[in-house]
């Protein structure tokens, strides 16, 4: 069991903010950490890694990592960390990157095989593609057989195809090693595919905590589907109004009654949902 109860003052883009997190994570769990930028996700991850100071308590499988203000240095925590920008050692080959962490060639070869990198083991990082570099980074993070694997938006710099491949790799490695994993991610499909639990952080506090289904599926009652979007424009067309809404990368039009129009303002967050056939805005 991992127990986290921490407190830290942050100077975010929206002024001062307190990061206050209290939660428990079961061994072997795959937890996704979601929330807007500036909500404290990366800081929370860095506190867990010991890279940033905080006060409170972190206890990992019976070992105190943080006790009041006394913190165990990152060197002694036995964690794996995957950075968004890979952060590979540029002066070492793929193999050397792995062996620098732990002189265990059997494990290194096994990891490279699982991620189909064996052929590239003598290459230098800057000769690899982004996806390949991130796979190396993932392997490197697992070389210590870490107690916890922390990933900070590991796939956000990659294109969609490469993301899918890497998600598969992450899943394979998670099944193989059973490492307790905490991953920062914004991509609902990615979270759904990989994680079993989702935490949503807002302004330094956890506002949602549940299974992926509970947190990510937004349909309620008789609604068949619901999308969250941003209201871009309302166009008058004869007696009716057409609302233009951005849902992710998609722009859609929804018919709105004239007496409903005054309830909406341009730029607000709206839910587009449908019951049987008629879409409605709420």
């Amino acid at each position: 069991m991992i127990k986290i109860d921490i407190d830290k003052k942050l100077h975010g883009s929206n002024g001062e903010m307190a990061l206050q997190v209290n939660l428990e994570i079961k061994q072997g769990d795959f937890v996704a950490l979601s929330g807007q930028s500036g909500s404290g996700k990366t800081t929370l991850l860095r506190i867990l890694a010991g890279l940033e100071k905080a006060s409170g308590e972190i206890n990992v499988f019976g070992t105190a990592w943080l006790d009041g203000k006394k913190k165990l240095p990152p060197q002694e925590r036995g964690i794996g960390f995957v950075f968004q920008d890979y952060a590979l050692f540029a002066n070492m080959t793929v193999m050397q990157n792995l062996l620098y962490v732990q002189k265990d060639e059997t494990l290194a070869n096994h990891l490279l095989e699982l991620t189909q990198l064996s052929e590239l083991k003598n290459r230098y990082p800057n000769t690899l593609s982004g996806g390949q570099q991130q796979r190396v980074s993932l392997c490197r993070a697992l070389m210590k057989r870490p107690k916890i694997l922390l990933m900070d938006e590991p796939l956000s710099a990659l294109d969609p195809d490469m993301r899918t491949k890497l998600q598969h790799d992450i899943l394979t490695l998670h099944k193989e090693f059973g490492t307790t994993t905490i991953m920062v991610s914004h991509d609902p499909s990615e979270i759904y595919r990989l994680a079993s639990r989702v935490l949503v952080l807002e302004q330094g506090k956890i506002t949602q905590d549940g299974t992926t289904k509970e947190v990510l599926l937004h349909t309620r009652g008789s609604q068949k589907f619901t999308f969250s979007g941003e209201l871009l424009e309302i166009i008058k067309a004869d007696v009716i109004y057409i609302a233009v809404v951005a849902i992710g990368q998609q722009i859609v039009e929804v018919v709105v009654d004239s007496h409903e129009v005054k309830n909406f303002t341009i730029g607000q967050k709206v839910q587009v949902s449908t019951k049987a056939f008629s879409p409605s805005l709420s």
Partner: protein, 227 residues
């Protein structure tokens, strides 16, 4: 005109090599520390380190001359207890040059370390490696251009110094008469031919050294560039 004597050049290079070696050992930990620390005294230390760039060599030379002479507590202490004289000899030149060239070693190293991807260093800490191992195995190999710049510029700057050397060392042949001082003396006695030859050698050597540095850096930057 006397037979051309190359001793001043050998002396200059011996001095520069000694100073570069000593300064590397001092500046490596200091540059690393300055690049990593958030200590509030950091600007103060940086300012002190950079002073020799701004100060006239005569000011620096004067203070060093005073500090190393028998008149100062330090100079008399070293002389009385260790029998080490530090002015108007090679030892004095080395000490003075170390002060004079210090910023040229510290600044490129510090800049190189500061430009490193912080996540890369943190990845090393997370891998269980301490600061020293990270410095030697990750940080230093990834700042090769800055490292080479620091070494060469320190070396070249020491070869090229004149004012401090003249004040602390004087012009004793084979002991403190380095190339720059020798040229000054040739001009003073109006032996322009020797001055020309010495100066031309200095220009050619300096150019070749700098050309080598920039060629190496271009090559390295290409190799280490992240796609």
């Amino acid at each position: 005109m006397n037979e051309l004597n190359f001793e001043p050049f050998f002396l200059s290079f011996r001095l520069a090599a000694t100073v570069t070696f000593i300064l590397f050992l001092i500046a490596l930990p200091l540059g690393w520390w300055l690049s990593q620390t958030k200590n509030r005294f950091k600007p103060m230390i940086e300012a002190v380190v950079s002073l020799p760039i701004v100060l006239p060599p005569s000011v620096l030379g004067f203070y060093i001359l005073y500090a190393l002479s028998y008149n100062s507590p330090f100079g008399s202490f070293m002389n009385e207890y260790f029998g080490i004289k530090m002015v108007f000899n090679f030892t004095g030149l080395v000490i003075a040059s170390c002060f004079y060239s210090f910023p040229f070693m510290v600044q490129p190293l510090q800049g190189g370390f500061e430009s490193l991807n912080k996540n890369m260093l943190e990845a090393s800490y997370i891998a269980g490696k301490g600061k020293i191992k990270t410095l030697l195995h990750v940080a230093l190999p990834n700042i090769k251009p800055a490292l080479l710049t620091a070494l060469i510029i320190t070396f070249a700057h020491t070869v090229g110094e004149f004012g401090v050397v003249l004040m602390v060392g004087g012009s004793i042949p084979g002991e403190t008469k380095v190339a720059s001082v020798a040229i000054y003396e040739y001009v003073e006695v109006m032996d322009y031919k020797s001055a020309h030859i010495y100066s031309a050698i200095m220009v050619a050597l300096s150019f070749l050294v700098l050309l080598g540095v920039y060629m190496f850096n271009q090559h390295q930057n290409r190799r280490l560039r992240v796609i």
